[in-house]
């Protein structure tokens, strides 16, 4: 396991949608170059955790420390500049922007991101369709674009919300390969995933969430001995 200090450290995170209390004290750590997956049934607060870390949910309490910075104090548009990138579940591809414009929309926040050429080498489909409106792409291509545009920005941590949802198995496999390639480059990933088989292939460590908090944590090596628990909580 990692002996280094965590890159992202969350303590006692509470979050609310209006009056609805969604997170009840989430604690988690993500270490450099690690892929961590949040598991749990629908509605336990996985997406909410990502959105609260990113600052998209403003009604939140607790501590979020990232790379020595206190994210709780930053306005939404400064969070990305701290070095953290977000790929939402709905992908967030803009219909009124071309593929090219979608790709270069997020500002570069640190050196070390991929160049547009590198991205097009990795995703030749996007290059072919660079002048089409972003939402004319297939679901899989939109997901690639949603990830690709964050890779350009040079962020250290990727918050990735259900990247395989609704995609064909062959595309899911490509996204798995992409995550493996990112890991080689040293990217740190906090992943929310319903597809347990996919998650078990890409993740180093798991947090299991229930009722708005973390109920278990274990590395990928303990996956087999935890199957009973997972079966009870997830129904897998």
């Amino acid at each position: 396991m990692n002996s280094a200090a965590p890159l992202l450290s969350v303590r006692g995170l509470n979050a609310w949608y209006g009056e609805s209390h969604a997170l009840h004290g989430v604690d988690l750590d993500v270490f450099p170059s690690e892929t961590v997956t949040l598991l749990g049934r629908n509605g336990v607060g996985k997406t909410t955790t990502l959105r609260a870390i990113m600052g998209l949910i403003r009604k939140r309490t607790g501590r979020i420390d990232f790379d020595g910075k206190d994210l709780m104090r930053l306005p939404l548009h400064r969070t990305a500049h701290a070095g953290i990138g977000f790929v939402p579940e709905e992908r967030g591809i803009f219909a009124t922007l071309t593929v090219d414009e979608n790709l270069i929309l997020p500002p570069v926040v640190a050196p070390g991101g991929m160049s547009v050429e590198e991205i097009f080498d990795l995703f030749p489909n996007l290059k072919e369709r660079r002048n089409s409106p972003g939402t004319k792409l297939s679901g899989g291509e939109q997901q690639m674009l949603a990830i690709a545009r964050i890779l350009r920005t040079g962020v250290k941590v990727l918050l990735l919300d259900e990247p395989t949802e609704g995609l064909a198995p062959v595309i899911v496999q490509r996204i798995g390969e992409l995550l493996a390639a990112l890991k080689k480059r040293g990217m740190t990933v906090l992943l929310v995933e319903q597809n347990f088989r996919f998650a078990s292939r890409v993740a180093d460590r798991f947090y299991l969430m229930e009722h708005g908090k973390v109920m278990a944590e274990f590395p990928v090596g303990e996956l087999n001995e935890r199957m009973t628990l997972l079966h009870d909580v997830l129904g897998v």
Partner: protein
């Protein structure tokens, strides 16, 4: 003769329609940009147009600053006041019901018009046509006052320029993206609050520019905006709320439709735009260029 109408009268009304359409297009463009991004129905737009005309008038009357510098200064003044209004007041209303933005800008328009009415009355003040654009030219089939031709050309250039800036530049891509999903664009690290402020300033500046362009054509009067703004709202509705291209094209089209109606059935010319609006709302509720929700 066209349908029993002398061709001079026909083309003359068509030109008047095109001039009016030029102002409809400029004003509805600003309204559409503001509505698209801020979701605020800017009822102060007519007052900002009036402010642009008065800025030109006062610059000339008190400082001797003529038309050409005023063409830059008037939009700048109105744009900066727009930025101040957005920072001080409008930005505090985004998180609550959009009705408050509408009520606030409506109240602001009443205050501005009231203040100018108090100091300048309602009779209107003339603004001279700049010497370079004075006089007219005989096109053979009709007489064209040069200034009016200039208004049509200037408005076209500005509308196409703004449209290109929104469609083709980086700033424009931020604007389009934030119109679709402001919080995601902000999560990417774009300073969306600043973008909202600048956009309101840009919309207000466009109204101010229309105002100074209008000053030599119409009288500079405190009520010049409120007479126009209702028609401009109809233009925005026909074009499709928030559609930039829709606002521009519909502005010219409805100006021409109004001019043509003056030729064939003058009694209906004041209501033709609203009749068109009613028909469009029945057939295509999202407007001619709007996306169906």
């Amino acid at each position: 003769m066209i349908f029993g109408i002398p061709i001079q009268a026909f083309l003359g009304q068509l030109l008047v329609g095109l001039i009016n359409g030029s102002f409809y297009a400029l004003l509805s463009l600003g309204l559409a940009i503001i509505f698209g991004l801020l979701r605020v129905i800017n009822f102060a737009h007519g007052a900002q147009y009036m402010l642009g005309a008065f800025a030109g008038y006062l610059l000339l009357a008190h400082l001797g600053i003529g038309y050409w510098p005023a063409l830059i200064l008037a939009p700048l003044i109105v744009g900066v006041t727009g930025i101040i209004i957005e920072r001080l007041a409008l930005s505090r209303l985004y998180d609550i019901d959009p009705l408050y933005g509408l009520l606030f800008t409506f109240g602001l328009a009443l205050v501005l018009e009231g203040v100018f009415r108090y100091y300048f009355g309602v009779s209107g003040n003339p603004y001279p046509v700049p010497p370079l654009l004075a006089g007219g030219t005989n096109l053979g089939f009709m007489f064209l006052p040069i200034y009016r031709g200039w208004v049509v050309v200037a408005s076209l250039v500005i509308c196409i320029g703004v449209w290109l800036a929104i469609e083709k530049t980086k700033f424009g891509s931020y604007l389009r993206a934030a119109t679709e999903n402001p919080s995601l664009v902000q999560a990417f690290g774009v300073n969306v609050p600043l973008l909202l402020t600048l956009t309101y300033g840009l919309g207000a500046a466009l109204a101010g520019l229309a105002g100074i362009l209008a000053a030599p054509v119409y009288q500079v009067s405190p009520l010049m905006g409120s007479n126009l703004i209702i028609v401009v709202f109809a233009v925005v509705v026909v074009g499709g709320m928030g559609s930039i291209l829709g606002a521009i094209v519909t502005g010219y089209m409805l100006g021409l439709a109004e001019g043509l109606t003056k030729v064939f059935y003058p009694e209906a010319s004041n209501i033709v735009i609203f009749v068109i609006m009613a028909i469009v709302l029945l057939v295509r509720p999202a407007g001619l260029f709007g996306k169906d929700a």
